[in-house]
Amino acid sequence: MAGLTTALRLPGNPDTRYEASAATREKPWVKRLILGISLSFFALFLLLPLVAVFFEALRKGVDVYLAALTDPDALSAIRLTLLTAAIAVPLNLVFGIAAAWAITKFDFRGKHLLITFIDLPFSVSPVIAGLIYVLVFGAQGWFGPWLLAHDIKIIFAVPGIVLATVFVTFPFVARELIPLMQAQGREEEEAATVLGASGWRTFWNVTLPNIKWGLLYGVILCNARAMGEFGAVSVVSGHIRGLTNTMPLHVEILYNEYNFAAAFAVASLLAMLALVTLVVKTFIEWQAALNASAQSQKGQEE
């Protein structure tokens, strides 16, 4: 996934510079062909599915649409999704900051291995992410008998859903902050510390203002995944209506019951979440690019 650091490397206004020179310009028919093929591919595989969600959601009219969203099971799914994200995102936010601080502000052995381990959840199938918690906390798992004896439910209950969500969204904030803080170096924090600022003060007044856009970027991507996770949550949820159904699971149940209009109505909420995420993400890239160019201008004046 291209992070904010990568996005910033894209030049702001490159559009015309290639077409100005004969050496970097294609023949008009080649250009039209590349544009035609790539944009058709984009429309077919990305745009059309998105349009279909909203079309199918509203196919049977606004009344059916609203009824599907105000159904008690839908409302409880929405509540559980919000709750899950409200726990998982802050947990991974704190972790991301701690990990990035340790990795970028200090030198120690095994740093590369640690970064690889942090990225690990992205290369594990979501189904396996659910399975591992079943193996640890399930009835036949390591802590199963103990949990049963103490009447604590983790699998097929909300804690399991939260755990699986934390796992799949684990790297988002950390992998956004690590390259960003690496690029910014340690001098500013070291200066603050030498001048007598405490560790927390240094973080709040020096580091945080420098990383706020990267932090926000990681958080919104983390949030989108937390609210939308399906595979991992599906394994640990048990699909108990009104109790352990998140929005994506509710979509699945409605769809499998051939209640397509309602399924797409709930899906359209998730699609809107995705669109809002993309808008905020683009806005942050734009803001960060403005900041970067303002800073480089300041640097040139000095």
Binding site: R9, E56, S198, S234
Partner: protein, 278 residues
């Protein structure tokens, strides 16, 4: 003690690293270890029987085959899209650029039902393809379509920055030496893009092998025909066959780790190329 300790100025090393390691172990490493420990409790015959059952082997073929094909298709079209986004101006370019990340932001279940609705026999695209004898939904072809959807941004987003960093001087030099545009692309630009293309391919492939949500709706999940490997894990779990599920998960995890090593190597290569170029 090493030298780094002597020069450490900033506070919070113990706290931040300690918290990082503890949280990483609790959430990721120890639960993942459960898969391997559980697998070791099986006899080899049990393990082999679980991972080589005909239905499971059929699922490997589909998962690997469709993932490879989807990654290859995405590499070709993703490169064209990245090229268009970096080099050309066209109306709606910013919107297209932002929407490339849609598969990252759109929940997989939503993508799954949307693709199914499009490609079902009575859907917008299914209606066109059905008379031509092409069935997409509920066939292996449907799996391919879902995996193309999910993998496209990986290729675009790894190729795009490399393409944008490319010095135009290289192409100007090639042109002044008499190279045709196609020759310049094939002999100058493509070799520079190669590490990024391979990285994008590997990332898209790795994601596709493990993908579940967007595939299961459109696949139809017919045993021996359109069942993917992650679905086999779910099926075993639903039958309370935890050992079988774990054995298959173990195979998939080993593949994921191998891919992770390959991807790390490719990314290091891409970076080295970039540094040499600039």
């Amino acid at each position: 003690m090493n030298r780094a300790t002597t020069y450490r100025v900033l506070p919070g090393f113990g706290l931040s690293l300690g918290y990082t390691l503890a949280y990483l172990s609790l959430i990721v490493l120890i639960p993942l270890a459960a898969v391997f420990l559980k697998t070791f409790s099986l006899s080899f015959e049990q393990f082999w029987a679980a991972i080589s059952a005909p239905r499971v082997v059929a699922s490997y073929k589909l998962s690997f085959g469709a993932s490879l094909l989807a990654a290859a298709i995405n590499t070709v079209f993703g490169m064209m899209l990245a090229w268009a986004l970096v080099r050309y101006t066209f109306p709606g370019k910013r919107i297209v650029d932002a929407l490339v990340d849609l598969p990252f932001a759109l929940p997989t279940a939503v993508a799954g039902i949307a693709l199914t609705a499009l490609y079902a026999p009575n859907g917008w695209l299914g209606q066109i393809l059905e008379p031509l004898g092409i069935k997409v939904a509920f066939t292996p072809l449907g799996v391919l379509v879902a995996l193309i959807f999910i993998g496209l941004p990986f290729v675009v987003r790894t190729v795009q920055p490399v393409l944008a960093d490319l010095e135009t001087e290289l192409e100007e030099a090639a042109a002044s030496l008499g190279a045709q545009r196609w020759q310049t692309f094939r002999l100058v630009i493509l070799p520079i893009l190669l590490p990024a293309l391979l990285t994008g391919f590997a990332l898209a492939f790795a994601r596709a092998v493990g993908e579940y949500g967007s595939v299961i709706f459109i696949a139809g999940n017919i045993p021996m025909v359109s069942e993917i490997t992650p679905l086999m894990i779910i099926t075993k779990l639903e039958q309370y066959d935890y050992t079988g599920a774990t054995a298959i998960a173990c195979v998939m995890l080993l593949l994921s780790f191998a891919l992770l090593l390959v991807i790390n190597g490719l990314q290091a290569w891409t970076q080295k190329r970039g540094e040499k170029g600039s």
